[in-house]
Amino acid sequence: MADYILEMKNITKLYPGVKALDNVNLKVERGEIHALVGENGAGKSTLMNVLSGTIPYGEYTGDIVYNGEVCQFHNIHDSEDKKIVIIHQELALIPEMTIAENMFLGNERKNRFGKINWNEAYKQADENMKKVGLKEQSSMLIKDIGTGKQQLVEIAKALSKDVKLLILDEPTASLNEKDSKMLLDMLLKFKEEGMTAIIITHKLNEVAYVADKITVVRDGSTIETMDNKDHNIDEERIIKGMVGRELSNRYPQREHNISDEVLFEAKDWTVYHPVYTEKCMVDHVNFHVNRGEIVGFSGLQGAGRTELAMSLFGKNYGSHISGQEFIRGEEVHLKNEKDAILHGLAYATEDRKTNGLILSDTIARNTTMARMEKISNRFGVIDVDKENKVAEEYVKRMRTKTPGIFQKAGNLSGGNQQKVLLSKWMFAEPDVLFLDEPGRGIDVGAKYEIYCIMNEMVKEGKAVVMISSELPELLGMCDRIYIMNEGKLVGELEASEATQERIMDKILSSNDEKEN
């Protein structure tokens, strides 16, 4: 008989009007890495919130059996007492505090009078940092280390609580391939040492790499649990389980109909950091995109791709910007974001929650935000009926799943928020659309729909510039791929000649050149 560290039995969770979880059963063996996969809104995170006590006992029905005993977690402290730690997708670190302060936040190393022993704290923090393979001093501030390392600090924090069952909610969503690999290897190492982990992710290659078992969740129910002892899973089967239908192709086909007309071009584009003005973020970059073309930008985190796009978009980012930008062959000097929009540019951010949408506002209001003059008269009086009609149209066209256009954007799942963000920029009628990580943190089904929308746009004669850290996505969608590293353009590949290896090779060899 298998040794189960955790059994969740018949878990049902109701929200007003929605059954988020419907009689879910989940069994996790001691010392395994168990992957939970499923579309956005399938109920994975809800299930983990039940397990961690974020959704307290009493708000759901069913039993949690942990180490053979039935547990009732009323809050996150209850589950942490049992050595269950959850790391959320949005990191719970305070940027202005040091690594050690963050690590022991709420769990301070103190004597019985409440005085914190900082020497002990920093010493223990340094030890934990070593365990996760970080060399940083624990006296560094969180804001001074990259996202990938912050993720590792979260894990180190979990270790400081002597974690037995670690739950990771999309740990690699904002990491590049290298950092992701590092994190996954770390998990494998901890597994050897006897830790059990549950990992929620959208990246099937990661699942194949680390997971011992895979449970597919769809519409609040567990569909099936698969064995992955040989790390040789059938991706088609998982995808079919997730979306409930065959998805024959993960990247939609399109006719490659690229015109010779250069729609957008940047020459010698150079941007410095807005605060540390010495630091060059984008260094003499030249690129162009034609009508009907999807161009990709590949690179590691911090390669300067986002900075490039944002600075081109009406100087939204950076200082001492120099270089030329051309739209439809004419040089333009964009003063601000409005100017960029009026010239036919759009920039859909990688961070839809903090930079993209007004979460407290309705879908309708978010949709029209970038071009409100289209729904108002010349005195600036808004025609609300027209606005609602437009919003309805976009909801239909994008197949946004929502009860209605008056739903607040913050209540939507990640994939649907992304669709609202795209609606907003399509409503602005751009010619050139910069999409920054359009597939980040959303499931296979929603991704496919977003790729379809991108294809539609280029078919209409627009141009798309796609920034992505996921190589398969770039290879599947783009006509041409630019490769950036440390602010410089280090390569350009036609889709036909591009492979993951060649792209990584370009990045790595540019690093070598610099070192020599």
Partner: protein
């Protein structure tokens, strides 16, 4: 489910009705005497006018303007001293408003373009303008006797020959307004129907219409029993209607909600947040200036303490009226309900004769209760 959401939407209106009935009973019906009904709005004119501007500031992200009480005092002081030195009412009004606009320009630029935190900038303004006002007044009380000036702000409209306690004209005006409103609502309802837009059920629209019209007619009737239609009411209505329209139906108004909802996303959507902050504080000061004239005319004199803590009344009205303390949500309609609620409590307590100290306690409790209610109910709906 539906009844629940309707009740929630009108919570503050229901609270207002309950409080109104409570004080009517407590004061043995004195609250609904024609004179008190007429005075209710006039005494709170400054709150209503300034709350409109305060709403804009709060929308941008829960920021408030602490300087408005002092701005109000300065503008009133300038008007009063100008009148005392024999200048015409027009000159006095221009001087008062010019001062308010300069203050608005000054604060708008500091907060919007130089990024001085609003709280600190307006806190400094609170001392600064109060001091200037006292300097203008030379630390004395300055009476206003210019009839023309008083007429512009605090007279009553009635037909020639009508007696103060029987101004049928007020009632007639109220009936006309009621009819116009009814026509507009029906027109908009059938217009929506015709274009195939979504509409609320006819019956609920009808109920709303009847309640609104009934209130207007009753109010007109009460006014007719006192002195007629106060000019100040027209000033209040003008400001409130303009601000309600701007915030609900214009692109410009939408900007304030956008900045408060997510400033970065707003900037990336081509809207300049600096401009939005500028206008919020500029318009706020302008309204404070106007309020200064209204209050000066109503009291008939200006002293260096005038307008003390008035900023707090405006802020409280906004929060009682459902504006979010984090910005991004709130309506002029809601804020007006908040202002009237505060006004009813103030006046009810004064008529009942509750000592001053206890009036403060009650006001504090009401504000706290409203905000707690807002936070808790948002938390609940946010989860769904």
């Amino acid at each position: 489910m539906k009844l629940k959401s309707t009740l929630k939407q009108y919570t503050m209106v229901i609270a207002l009705v309950i409080v109104f009935i409570f004080f009517t009973v407590l004061t043995g019906g004195r609250l609904i005497l024609a004179q008190n009904i007429s005075n209710l709005l006039l005494q709170n004119a400054y709150v209503m006018v300034m709350a409109c501007g305060m709403l804009l500031c709060i929308l941008t992200g829960g920021n408030v303007d602490l300087s408005v009480g002092a701005t109000l005092c300065l503008s009133a002081a300038l008007a009063a001293t100008a009148l005392q030195s024999g200048k015409s009412p027009v000159v006095a009004i221009i001087m008062a408003m010019a001062a308010a606009l300069v203050i608005g320009l000054f604060q708008g630029i500091l907060i919007g373009y130089i990024h001085v935190p609003p709280f600190i900038c307006t806190l400094a303004g609170m001392f600064l303008y109060r001091g200037l006002a006292r300097a203008v007044l030379d630390s004395k009380t300055c009476g206003i006797t210019n009839e023309k000036f008083l007429d512009i702000f605090s007279s009553y409209l009635r037909m020639p020959g009508e007696k103060p306690r029987a101004c049928t004209s007020s009632l007639i005006v109220a009936v006309i307004v009621a009819v116009v409103i009814a026509a507009c609502m029906l027109f908009s309802y059938y217009g929506k129907k015709k274009h195939g837009y979504e509409t609320k059920p006819f019956i609920s629209m009808l109920i709303k219409l009847i309640i609104i019209d009934a209130l207007i007619v009753i109010y007109g009737w009460k006014l007719s029993q006192f002195k007629g239609i106060p000019v100040m009411l027209l000033w209040i209505l003008a400001v409130v209607i303009i601000f309600a329209f701007v915030t609900s139906s214009t692109v410009f108004g939408r900007y304030f909600y956008a900045v408060g909802g997510n400033e970065k996303a707003t900037k990336l959507s081509g809207i300049d947040p600096r401009r939005v902050y500028f206008w919020a504080y500029f318009l706020m000061s302008a309204l404070a200036g106007l309020s200064g004239l209204l209050v000066a005319a109503r009291i008939g004199s200006v002293d260096g303490n005038m307008g003390n803590t008035y900023e707090m009344d405006a802020i409280a009205s906004c929060f009682i009226g459902g504006a979010s303390a984090y910005g991004g949500s709130g309506t002029v309609g809601g804020v007006m309900v908040g202002a009237v609620l505060l006004g009813v409590i103030n006046q009810g307590m004064s008529i009942y004769g509750l000592p001053d100290q206890w009036q403060y306690v009650v006001k504090g409790v009401v504000l706290l209760a409203a905000v707690i209610f807002d936070v808790v109910s948002n938390k609940k709906t946010g989860k769904a």
